[in-house]
């Protein structure tokens, strides 16, 4: 017997949900959702759980991750209860539930804290550069080195434990028995979803958005690979240089389109942007753009005179690596993929 | 073939039992189609000679759907209707008609179900006890 907890709704409002209480349970949202299936029907169930404050049910559910926010549910909701935005906030809430540090929760709920975080990091970068006497060579070198370490430690200390927590909440706590073989055979699903997000193709009229998203992921991973493993800024191989250019162009061009959607607010999913959504796309855009210009300046020999440009790029990069990747919206990349993976291995 | 149903004459009343019989129709509660009603103002106005006339003309049974305590003309209705039945029963005996072929029951303005039940059981009784 579950007890009703009306306080939970108020908590969710801090993650961006609103008006979902208006739901009168007609089921239109679930019926118009093209990703909703007989096995996994949503979003009404999630709205209902949220209204009643059934946290445990939400924590052990993968449904929030199965939604790609096409917005059909919110457009057609006769009570304007915004189920789509509720699903988005549930993803934010779940992200903080998975996160053992609880920092993501703090950052989602408080914009000032987030800004302070960004400022501290910017100051840190400045102090570090000052300590290095603004020597471009060594800053670049250490910058590259930092990138590798940051990725490794964010993964090792934050994301990996969080994935394990997610696994615990979804598989272990509800006592679902999964044979080991399934973990292995289902692994393909994880990889496919991580790189293609193919499920979102199920959303009606979503091909363009899926494609944009797909090449953005390619661009992002490509840029990561070029800068971290091929040390793009210090590499003279023509192929690597061009690859880096292409990847960074992809990033900032696609993100421009994403940002303009959020400004125009015509599509349902871009109507109610939270600061975390904005930061994700803006930082991604800045990262692509600054990386591109830095390399351009390197190639044109202007970088020595414009070292501030690199510092700016570095600040963005560090903020990205230390805030957005471990605690921000970046995590949806990981959780969503794992959600598909868990869904696959859970299914009989 | 359907079993032939008994022919029953019902004296109903305009304000009380007639609405109930109408409602039985409205609710499609079926009863034998050989039940015919003659509607009069009040059940305590039925004359014995009418009843006897009906038997004479071949009706198997006569049913008085009485107003009971709902009668708009006064409380004495039930008692008076009862007396009519009593008197008529005597006359029927004298004429060698089985008294059980005359029945009465109070049918209130919404007693459709009870009316239908009465008709069905009366019909069964009359069929069982008919000579042929």
């Amino acid at each position: 017997m579950a007890a009703i907890n009306p306080e939970f709704g108020k908590e969710l409002n801090r993650y961006g949900a609103f008006d979902f209480n208006a739901c009168y349970n007609c089921g239109t949202c679930t019926a118009v959702c093209s990703l909703s299936t007989e096995e996994d029907s949503f979003p009404r169930e999630m709205v209902r759980f949220s209204v009643l404050g059934m946290k445990d049910e939400i924590k052990s559910s993968l449904k929030p991750w199965l939604c790609y926010y096409c917005g059909e549910c919110s457009t057609n909701c006769p009570q304007e209860a915004n189920p789509g935005e509720l699903m988005m906030s549930l993803r934010r809430w779940l992200t903080t539930e998975y996160d053992w540090t609880k920092l993501s929760g703090l950052l989602y709920r408080s914009l000032p804290l987030t800004i302070i975080g960004f400022i501290i990091i910017a100051i840190g970068v400045l102090i570090f550069s000052a300590l290095e006497n603004f020597n471009l060579q060594s800053i670049m070198h250490i910058g590259h080195f930092f990138e590798i370490i940051a990725i490794a430690s964010v993964f090792g200390f934050i994301l990996l434990p969080n994935i394990i927590r997610m696994w615990w909440l979804i598989i272990m706590k509800p006592r679902i028995k999964v044979p080991l073989m399934k973990y292995i055979t289902g692994f393909g699903e994880l990889i496919v979803h991580m790189f293609t997000q193919k499920r979102s193709l199920g959303c009606d009229n979503n091909q363009l958005r899926w494609f944009e998203h797909f090449i953005l992921v390619i661009g992002y991973l490509g840029l990561l690979f070029t800068t971290v493993f091929l040390d793009w800024f210090s590499n003279d191989n023509l192929f690597v240089i061009v690859l880096g250019y292409i990847m960074s162009i992809i990033i900032f061009i696609v993100t421009i389109d994403f940002m303009s959607d959020r400004i125009k607010k015509q599509k349902e999913m871009s109507k109610f942007s939270q600061p975390s959504d904005w930061m994700f796309v803006v930082w991604l855009f800045l990262m692509g753009l600054t990386a591109f210009i830095v390399r351009l300046f390197i190639d044109t020999g202007l970088i020595e005179q414009n070292i501030w440009l690199y510092l700016f790029h570095l600040t963005i990069l560090v903020q990205w690596a230390l805030i957005i990747v471990p605690f921000g919206k970046w995590t949806h990349f990981l959780y969503r993929s794992f959600a598909m993976y868990f869904a696959k291995i859970k299914s009989q | 073939m359907k079993i032939k149903s008994a022919r029953i004459l019902v004296f109903s009343t305009e304000k009380i039992s007639d609405p109930a019989i109408d409602m039985a129709g409205l609710l499609k509660l079926h009863y034998p189609p050989t039940v015919y009603t003659i509607s009069i103002p009040c059940s305590s106005g039925v004359k014995s000679r009418w009843i006897l006339h009906a038997f004479e003309k071949g009706f198997d049974g006569v049913f008085i759907a009485a107003d009971g305590s709902d009668c708009p003309y006064g409380e004495s209705c039930t008692e008076k209707t009862g007396k009519i039945i009593g008197r008529t029963h005597e006359l029927m005996k004298a004429m060698n008609i089985e008294p059980a072929r005359l029945r009465m029951a109070a049918i209130c303005s919404v007693c459709s179900e009870s009316f239908v039940k009465q008709m069905k059981s009366f019909n069964e009784y009359l069929l069982k006890n008919s000579n042929n």
Binding site: G27, A31, S41, T75, N76, C77, Q79, E80 | -
Partner: protein, 432 residues
Amino acid sequence: MPEKIINASYDALVIGGGIAGGEAALNLANNGFKVLIVEKDLSIGGKMILLSKVFPTLDCSACITTPKVSEISRHKDITIFTESEVKYIVKTGEKSFNAQVIRNPRYVITEDCTGCQLCEQACPVIVSDQYQYNLVGRKAAFIPFSIASPRVAAIDIENCTLCGACEKVCPTKCIDFSQEIQEYDLEIKTVVIATGFKLFDPLLIPRYGYGIYKNIITSMQMERQLAPTRPFNTILRPGDGKVPDRIAYVLCTGSRDVTVGNPICSQICCMYSIKQAQLLMGALPMADVTIYYINIRSFGKGFEEFYDQAKGMGVNFVKGKIGKIREKDNGDLIMRYEDINENVVKEAEHDMVVLSVGVLPNTDSASLFTDGELKLDPFSFVFQSDPLASPAKTSIEGVFVAGTATGPMDIPDSILSAGAASSEAMSYLIRK
């Protein structure tokens, strides 16, 4: 150019000749007041006269409407203008209004027409019959429907090709294309607004596919299919003429829905759908009827019992609103919905879908009053200035409102509301 302006005076002007307007007019006239009914349609009787049967008693609607309508049309103190509109009304003083009414030409001399239908037979034109909600055709010279009042012909001048066939066959020479718009300048003492309601247009919900999938009809179209004067003489899918086997009702089409601008409940759709379901079970004994609902609102006298009766007859009730509908090649329809009881999204196949369309305000009356604007409520129904103590009062003294002009309601409530409006109008007229 109007021929002439005709002057006349009445105690009361009733705008709208539906069941509410008719009831109000009768009450007033029976107490000796002179009443004018202005009806924009070709017949009085409103929507009710076109219905099949009425809940919860299953009386045939015509059996209740037609005698009323004939009483109205015969009443010595009631004048009826059909095919007419009130242009504007000015308050000219205490218990005094001036109303400008125009009467559009019917192109038939009403008094002389015997309703023989010879003109109808002669007319070569076929257009959609609005009184059968476009399920079938009618002529351009036509009697609106068999129980119309007045039951006389009219010419649909927009679709008429002026071939003259009707005029040639008319035995009483009552067809007259020289008729012009007539203007009336009327002195009246009180006004009763009974302009009724409009039905929701399901084209506004594209995901239901109404208009594209021909086997989706509105509840009013089904009402016509069930009525004694029905278009097909049996129940058929308009898409291909099949007798449907599996019929679905989509409740709250255009009601309780902010996205189409109508947040309120239409109050009648649950009951008329249950009624139609019962009638369908009678007409097509083998058919399955399913009603998809959010909440069943069987709140009135005898309604809950009526709902129980439908369940007993085997009408299938499914809790869950239809999300979208798509069509199969054979014209069958696939409905997608969430079965709320099971919390699972499902698809179901039906032969025919009935959209239980909601009640919308008829805002025609809002602009009638030049002085002292007639206020509307937030949903654009006529605003009741004292809804609890004097439900028929509007924002203008001496103007009363009856029936669904104030909001959705069923027939008994409309009639009571009309009773209230006529009562208030009467005491207003008598009061010194």
